[in-house]
């Protein structure tokens, strides 16, 4: 069940078809790019649907409820039903919004989250694009989410939306710092920014960076939870204070795009954590992509577990925690790994 040759096979098929038709080679490249993107998007969409369902089931069971039970076996069709409902909804545009900003905000958010999947190694040889600056690219492209949130907050012309947008901008920019610094420890040890090289460096279980960089893993996990605006760091959409935060004026499919981007982000940070700290797709017996998914879902579970354990932080506590606690820890991690391994 190894899918190692999937992208190469696609490459070959497309190239032979295009050359048979006598078209220039850039057409082959374009089709291949679209094909790979479609595969990743498909997998991403399935993962979003699964995560939404799983989140609801876990939320239920953490509270000793069942969660969705009536749509399909244990409610597995629930996300599909929700999606159909959201597609049918009217796309309401409030009168005083900034139209273009309001329009493009969810698109940018989804695209930025989705673009980061280009350098995620899904399995042995299953990496859509093996950039030699992979992790840097992820950090750069995910930061665009801040712009999207600010756009949503500003464009909605609503005080709650603006407050939510500003909060999330402050939060994401702050937590970007310990997040990057915690990843730096891994980069120092692998001497490479390439995701493939990082996975290759964790060939044995005792080489996993979670054992070599436990502090870095913890800092990454906490900072990443904050990055995705999830509880206990969900002040940008704190329901009790901001109604819904930056997405309050959004409805229908535009709201759904924010929602999907949120879960895509959750999957993304978990996939990065699995790749950087848990040995990526490496593992015995099972195919590599199953190992990758298992490890990623394990991290997703931990993040959801956080959500149902910890109460939301106040805004000042959030900032204090980041700058006074996480940042020194991240620096300590870099210094310690510098002394120990070089």
């Amino acid at each position: 069940m190894e899918l190692t040759g999937l992208f190469k096979w696609l490459d070959g098929v497309v190239a032979s078809i295009v050359s048979a038709l006598g078209l220039p080679s850039w057409v082959a490249q374009l089709i291949e790019m679209i094909g790979v993107a479609a595969i990743v998007l498909g997998v991403g969409a399935v993962m979003i649907m699964f995560l939404v369902w799983w989140e609801r089931k876990l939320s239920g069971h953490f509270q000793q409820r069942f969660g969705p039970m009536r749509t399909g076996w244990h409610g597995w069709l629930q996300t599909i039903a929700d999606g159909i409902k959201l597609i049918q909804k009217e796309d309401i545009l409030p009168r005083d919004i900034d139209r273009s900003v309001f329009y493009w905000s969810p698109v940018i958010m989804f695209c930025c989250s989705f673009a980061a999947f280009a350098v995620i190694p899904w399995g042995r040889g299953l990496i859509p694009s093996d950039l030699n600056i992979g992790i840097l690219y992820i950090l750069a492209i995910t930061t665009f989410v801040v712009i999207s949130l600010l756009m949503a907050g500003w464009g909605s012309n609503n005080k709650y939306a603006l407050l939510g947008g500003m909060r999330s901008a402050a939060q994401i920019i702050s937590y970007e710092v310990p997040l990057t610094l915690s990843i730096l420890g891994v980069i120092m040890m692998t001497q490479s920014l390439s995701m493939t090289a990082i996975v290759a460096a964790q060939d044995k279980i005792y080489n996993w960076f979670i054992f070599r960089q436990p502090l870095g893993f913890l800092v990454y996990l906490v900072a990443a939870t904050a990055e995705t605006n999830r509880a206990p760091f969900d002040i940008p959409e704190a329901e009790q204070e901001l109604v819904a935060g930056f997405n309050i004026e959004y409805s229908g499919m535009r709201f759904a795009m924010f929602f999907m981007a949120e879960y895509l982000n959750l999957f993304l940070i978990s996939a990065i954590a699995a790749t950087l700290f848990l040995g990526g797709w490496q593992g015995p017996l099972l195919p590599s992509w199953i190992w990758f998914l298992l490890k990623t879902l394990f991290i997703v579970f931990i993040v959801m577990w956080f959500k149902w354990t910890y109460p939301r932080l106040r805004v000042d506590q959030l900032m204090g925690f980041c700058w006074k606690f996480l940042l020194p820890l991240a620096f300590a991690n870099i210094i310690i790994s510098g002394f120990l391994y070089h």
């Binding site: 953490f62 000793q64 409820r65 039970m69 577990w305 956080f306 354990t309 910890y310 606690f325």
Partner: protein
């Protein structure tokens, strides 16, 4: 130094918190899957009001004494009745308006004949208010599967019991039961006198008590 200790105990508490939630995750859900599963209602729960029938004859236990209508604090019970040929009250109409019923159970307490009872049934929502007024057929139908234990009969009130000679009422009660039962179920007709005998005391007391104030009216509404 104090801050340091706080950090350690804080981390410890965070881990304790995670332990608490994971325990809840793996303990069994308390939710009842309502339309598929239902609570077993306690025997004395006060849900929708029904009229009980005799288990053997299938007749209503109601003797049209209107004690329940009088006991009802909100006037949800409407009874119309007339004197039969055997001088016993016959029901013309027995209606309970569930929109004003407050499920206090006073009608059940007032009833001497195990005729009216509050049950554990609670699923009787409807689309219009009119259909929530249940007539005698609906009330009887609802009461068919209700299991009840015959009440311990109260001794008849003295002024009511003395003027009526006992054998006469016994016979009339037996006849009334037998007549109606024979129409519905000829086989059960033989058993009905026994039932009537069991019920002799309340059978003679309450109608007698009720006749005095209501003698001049053929119909009585409450």
């Amino acid at each position: 130094m104090a801050a340091k200790i706080k950090v350690y105990s804080g981390i410890k508490n965070l881990i304790i918190g995670l332990g608490v939630t994971i325990r809840h995750l793996f303990s069994h859900a308390v939710t009842l899957q309502y339309p598929d599963e239902r609570w077993e209602m306690p025997e004395r729960s006060r849900g929708v009001v029904v009229l009980l029938s005799d288990k053997e004859t299938g007749d209503l236990n109601c003797t049209a004494c209107i004690l329940c209508a009088k006991a009802c604090p909100v006037g949800a019970i409407w009874i119309e009745r007339h004197r039969g040929d055997d001088k016993r009250w016959k029901l013309d109409k027995f209606e309970i308006d569930n929109t004003i019923c407050c499920y206090c159970g006073l009608c059940e307490e007032a009833c001497n004949f195990d005729a009216i009872k509050l049950t554990g049934k609670y699923e009787f929502s409807a689309f219009d208010k009119e259909s929530l007024t249940y007539d005698v057929n609906r009330l009887q139908e609802l009461g068919l599967d209700v299991d009840y234990e015959p009440k311990r009969k109260k001794p008849a009130p003295k002024p009511a019991a003395t003027p009526q000679p006992k054998p006469a009422t016994d016979a009339s009660a037996g006849e009334a039961k037998a007549e109606s039962a024979a129409a519905a179920n000829p086989e059960a007709a033989g058993k009905s006198p026994e039932v009537a005998e069991k019920k002799e005391q309340p059978g003679d007391s309450a109608p007698a008590a009720e006749t005095k104030p209501d003698d001049n009216n053929e119909e009585k509404g409450a």
